[in-house]
Amino acid sequence: MLEIKDLHAGVDGTEIVKGISLSINKGEVHAIMGPNGSGKSTLAKILSGHPAYEATSGEIIFDGQNLLEMDAEERSLAGVFMGFQYPVEVPGVNNAEFLRMAHNARKVKAGEEEVDPLDFDELLSEKMKMLGMEKKYKERNLNDGFSGGEKKKNEILQMAILEPKLSLLDETDSGLDIDALRIVSEGVNKLRSENNALILITHYQRLLDYIKPDFVHVLSQGKIVKSGDKALALELESQGYDWVTTAD
């Protein structure tokens, strides 16, 4: 589904991602871990098409399409979803209306009719219930004044509405309280299928207790320095990063 080949990328001429290759198949869950500043969010932004970040060489093929030639909107419509580490606040734009716009953008792409606010409300209520979100978040403005955890929940709510093929969740677990982490993880698990894939960027084993990864990769200074199965995450939890990042 996703094939990253020797990707180099950065911002303002500074290289941050320094040759990453990664292959992800349908149905798989990959966890990316690594020290602060190692380039995890940068990789995610490159995948989602943030205009400030530039790939200088390498390839990203998603479902047979050259992702680097598509803009963020096209990537999203093609089925790539990014759950941001720091979701931006948009005062004045109603949360439910934003979600409906995003949902309808897909409908339009598929040549289907747009969903009116009433019908959408049904869908929205169902998904919010699944994530244990109170109704009041419909009326609020997009992330405006949301607490850290509320913003993260709202990201997963978007994922639930958009049903992407590939989701990258960038530290969705940080900021969630213990109960919220469980509810959100269960929600994410419900959204999983044989046809979609998940990349979890995280610092903590706790998330991986709920959403079991098939592969764990350690990113350090812009490179994947070690890959393994879920046992690797447990090792990292007990030993820290030093032993992998200084291995050579």
Partner: protein, 483 residues
């Protein structure tokens, strides 16, 4: 530029100034220059009653002693008032008996603007007065309004048919010497709209004027007078466009509103005059307008809603004089500046009567290298016991080269009053737009959503079709400026 072949939607896609076409009509234009003879000639051309000529002459005398205001936060080279023609009318004009007599070219122009004047095609529930350069060319729905005693006609016609009404009210809200441009307008205005709503009458439709400047180097000086008698109501819409010329054109209108006891006037404007070249700032309209309403009667209400998206320079402060006890004034404004535009706009709320209330909601959006100033005055007189004002002035910056300024002035001479002022500045950021795009929402829809969110409190005051149009206009103007 032969935009004549292009459809309006083509122009929209080009993202050019949508209304930048000129119409080939023979027009009767005065030679450039201004002196007493020109003032007399205008009055004569219009066959005006004596009081009108005297009004003009008095204004002209005043104007000669005045100087252009220097306090607005706008900058432009001095205007040569002798280099402007003060009168232009489409030729072939006597008193028009029906729309058949209007030059078909002029009619097509208005159609292109989306204002069909044909009896068959005319907007179902809006009466339209179309002003082309200085002259009113067609007023629709007149008969239907007349059945209820509502007068809606060009002011030139009102001067012939209802001179006593015009004489009673003209200049009572904006006196001839009020300010430099108002004095100029009072001396040389050529046409505009006149509305009279008799007592106990709710206008059965929205009343609308469409202004268009067509001829290069003519000034457009229209004069609008709306009187709403006891217990009556009218909603009035005003739209403005102009073609693209390299030179600056002057537009100095005066609008006066009067409400008697329990009457209400709702006045909405979508202003999209040509703003000049986006890159160089060349050309564009100087929009120096005086708009003022007087709540003369008790419990009366005047509400101004404006969406200002065009003009090279805007200098405009739709105001309310709250004279009647319990009267109220409202000002809702969205002012967008982009390219090299400069706007200094706001309102004045003058509280004279007891229990008078006013509210001001101003939303300024500045993009590119433009400058956008809000200037508002709230003045509460010594007899205005229990007067209240609420003001909210928000600015949104797009990019980092534009500027926003807020100049609130509050003067109170009565201690029982309550005045609140809030202000905030925000920004459309690249990260916000990326957030929308990463959810599959187009940049255009993202801008529209952010802007309409910002302008919500103002847009909801506009009649539906106007709100939709206004929203599209803002989005169109900002698409290039963001990012």
């Amino acid at each position: 530029m032969s935009d004549e072949q292009n459809s309006v939607s083509d122009l929209l896609e080009d993202n050019q100034y949508k209304y930048g076409f000129t119409t080939d009509v023979e027009s009767d234009t005065f030679a450039k220059g201004l002196n007493e003879d020109v003032v007399r000639a205008i009055s004569k051309k219009k066959n005006e009653p004596e009081f009108m000529l005297n009004f003009r002459l008095k204004a002209f005398e005043k104007w000669k002693t005045m100087t252009e205001p220097a306090w607005p936060n706008v900058h432009y080279p001095p205007i040569d008032f002798q280099d402007i023609s003060y009168y232009s009318e489409p030729k072939k004009k006597k008193v028009l008996e029906s729309l058949d007599e209007v030059d078909p070219e002029v009619m097509r122009t208005f159609e292109k603007l989306g204002i069909p004047l044909d009896e068959q095609k005319k907007l179902a529930n809006v009466a339209v007065d179309a002003v082309f350069d200085s002259v009113s060319v067609a007023t629709t729905h007149k008969k239907k309004l007349m059945e209820q005693g509502i007068i809606f006609c060009p002011i030139s016609e009102a001067l012939q048919d209802y001179p006593e009404l015009v004489e009673e009210y003209l200049g009572t809200v904006v006196p001839v010497g009020d300010n430099y441009y108002a004095a100029l307008n009072s001396a040389v205005f050529t046409d505009g709209s006149f509305v009279y709503i008799p007592p106990d009458t709710i206008s059965p439709m929205e009343i609308s004027t469409y202004f268009r400047i067509n001829t290069e180097e003519t000034g457009q000086f229209e004069r609008t007078l709306i009187i709403c008698a006891e217990n009556s109501y009218v909603s009035y819409l005003e739209g403005c466009t102009a073609p693209q010329f390299d030179t600056n054109q002057l537009h100095a209108a005066v609008v006066e509103l009067v409400t008697l006891d329990n009457a209400e006037i709702k006045y909405s404007t979508v202003q999209n005059w040509y703003a000049g070249d986006k890159e160089t700032g060349k050309g564009g309209i100087y929009n120096f307008v005086t708009k003022r309403g007087k709540c003369a009667g008790e419990n009366s209400k005047i509400s101004w809603t404006q969406v200002e998206t065009g003009s090279a320079i805007t200098w405009k402060y739709p105001s309310c004089i709250l004279q009647g006890d319990n009267s109220s004034g409202e000002f809702y404004s969205v002012a967008l500046t982009n390219g090299h535009m400069q706007a200094d706009t706001g309102t004045k709320m003058i509280h004279i009567g007891k229990n008078t209330r006013s509210s001001i909601i101003s939303k300024g959006i500045s993009a590119d290298v433009s400058s956008n100033s809000y200037r508002g005055q709230v003045k509460i007189g010594k007899n205005a016991t229990n007067a209240r004002n609420y003001s909210q002035c928000d600015s949104m910056l797009v990019g980092d080269k534009s500027s926003a300024h807020t100049f609130p002035y509050i003067e109170t001479a009565n201690s029982s009053v309550q005045v609140e002022h809030e202000a905030a500045t925000s920004k459309i950021s690249e990260d916000q737009l990326f957030y929308f795009e990463s959810r599959g929402i187009s940049r255009e829809n993202a801008i529209e959503a952010v802007i309409s969110g910002f302008c919500k409190d103002v847009f909801k005051q506009l009649p539906m079709e106007f709100a939709v149009e206004a929203q599209k206009l803002l989005t169109l103007k900002l698409e290039d400026s963001v990012g």
